[in-house]
Symmetry: C3
Subunit: 264 residues, 3 copies
Amino acid sequence: MLNAYAILKKVREEKPLIHHITNWVTIYDCASIVRAFGALPVMAHAAEEVEEMASIASALVLNIGTLTPTLVESMLRAGKAANKKKIPVILDAVGVGATKLRTESALRIIREVKLAVIKGNSAEIGVLAGVKASVRGVEAAGLQGNPIEVALRLAHKTHTTVALTGKQDVITDGKKTMLCNNGHAMMGCLVGTGCMAASVIAAFCAVEGDPVKASTAALSCFGIAGELAARKARGPGTFKERLYDSVYNLDEKTVRRMQNVDEV
Amino acid sequence: MLNAYAILKKVREEKPLIHHITNWVTIYDCASIVRAFGALPVMAHAAEEVEEMASIASALVLNIGTLTPTLVESMLRAGKAANKKKIPVILDAVGVGATKLRTESALRIIREVKLAVIKGNSAEIGVLAGVKASVRGVEAAGLQGNPIEVALRLAHKTHTTVALTGKQDVITDGKKTMLCNNGHAMMGCLVGTGCMAASVIAAFCAVEGDPVKASTAALSCFGIAGELAARKARGPGTFKERLYDSVYNLDEKTVRRMQNVDEV
Amino acid sequence: MLNAYAILKKVREEKPLIHHITNWVTIYDCASIVRAFGALPVMAHAAEEVEEMASIASALVLNIGTLTPTLVESMLRAGKAANKKKIPVILDAVGVGATKLRTESALRIIREVKLAVIKGNSAEIGVLAGVKASVRGVEAAGLQGNPIEVALRLAHKTHTTVALTGKQDVITDGKKTMLCNNGHAMMGCLVGTGCMAASVIAAFCAVEGDPVKASTAALSCFGIAGELAARKARGPGTFKERLYDSVYNLDEKTVRRMQNVDEV
């Protein structure tokens, strides 16, 4: 049985450094959520320093939300440096399927970097798995097949843990599959929760060697905070404020009571 | 008579995709406000993908708040791709008049892209209209002439709808002119409300073919949310939170009662 | 005796324009805090416009939080333009010591630009002073020697005012040294407060010619707002909202009562 709180506790105790090469839209919130969870974020994207920064980090997030070819080069460099040191690398495949640049860059990163987790919404994971899927900007707009099969297909194809986020999150390494039902519809109304989820996954992967357990615990804890935040939120403004407070205050009792995870 | 709520309703129903090439300061808030209004934001600036992204969008925002020559090239590419598909393009002329790069880039975009709306504060619009105006950083600091005449002058010169924002917003295509008196002084104390206004205009232009009506409805709805947010705000922190909540909760009754728009 | 409120009052009355070349993580919050303090922020980083923008500003912030070699070139250009006009330049040495690029870039800026203030945490200042110090990402993780001596050493070495931030802030030009005990532990839990502090220092330097007084007053006022914000905060979400409201509402009575500054 997954003990999400135990992994959260390790994040808070070890305060791992999470290096991000990410997009310019949600960069602040990625850093903030990592900090609210008790880890230390650092953002650095210059080709001249990413290898050095990745090498001292405990996990690396590659988020292609506002990618450029230059940024992708930095991601490859950082990813390879992280691989050398066995530091887990998390790819957030933002907008894959919307443009050729995104799809090809994600596929190139998957080929050239050994990833711990590929994270995306159902359509992004679908596109990477070679399934018919439609992406509208950075939103999932359609998927042929069911999310569990699609996630399994990409996991088998890439020998990597896949975290497919949605109303129900599917996390699988091709052998073990976990489903997380935590979260709240308000999270979909707030820009950046998808990117934040990838950053939280990275923080959990920094302290837990099994990427399936780490990703599931991360999505469960983040989702629980979302459920708590939604309770008295009057809109995305109050929801966001409460989301940060809820993450910061997550305690063992609450996480144990609210954790909603199944292994299939 | 303008029915601002009817256009807002269409935004919520159609959830248009709004592609932004924008600045790094307010990029998150531009995305967030679009989402709070019920539309879908996407930010993408790499020359390699902007034509593809603009082509699948329902409106395009070009905001020169932290421009570089490379970014301006992406804006021109995206703008021309949007023109081919008849997708409305909104220019936010941030800081025009403060530096040569800003003024010349805005003028070049106006020459090379068919715009639906040029949006700016009184001084920015003044500079583009060829009137004496002074800009301090990104703030209007002086204008020779009255805002209505200045907006008309630019509209005539460019054959484009102009949205001049200020205490009273002036929206004109040179024939029809609307004045919007919604809004609150606190909006001027919050960084990003100007940029957000341009993004909201884009979301409304995506569902309403008349740019004057769309822009006026957008500024009225955003302004009403600002008035509501200011009621119990204790400063820019609470104001911002309430602004998002108010946008999210705008209902027909409130918009009808508070809409403060004149046609001249 | 330092009168922090008197300098704050001047910021509010003169509304100085504060030009930033800064990082993509906290760029919005740097602008927002400057605005909440009553000054006007402007962010501009293109080599083609930074000299022009710096020349019309009242202070310039160079923050290397997500630096690239191109951005450093812009910083040098802007810094030299500011020097010509005697506009104070503040360097925020974010992450110095974490990578070679950061350390070398900061040292180059210190060599080529006449700075009013070098701001950093204890480890960043330690690295620049040539003392053994360890930086973890952008966090201070260790320092050999006491902060006052380290700050003095860098001030003597560079003939510049040094603002070393921490639980106790040390501000010194090598002759006069001030200690500021305002602030609250919650500020360390919020991403961006370090960067914001540098921006506030710049706003205060824009209206007060003595960088030691200006920096101390800035850190005291910002710290007082932090203490007020922490009172009823339930986590980083509510803390951030209250921090902005507290800054906006700081009054003479409160600042006088809470100012906690010593001259040594």
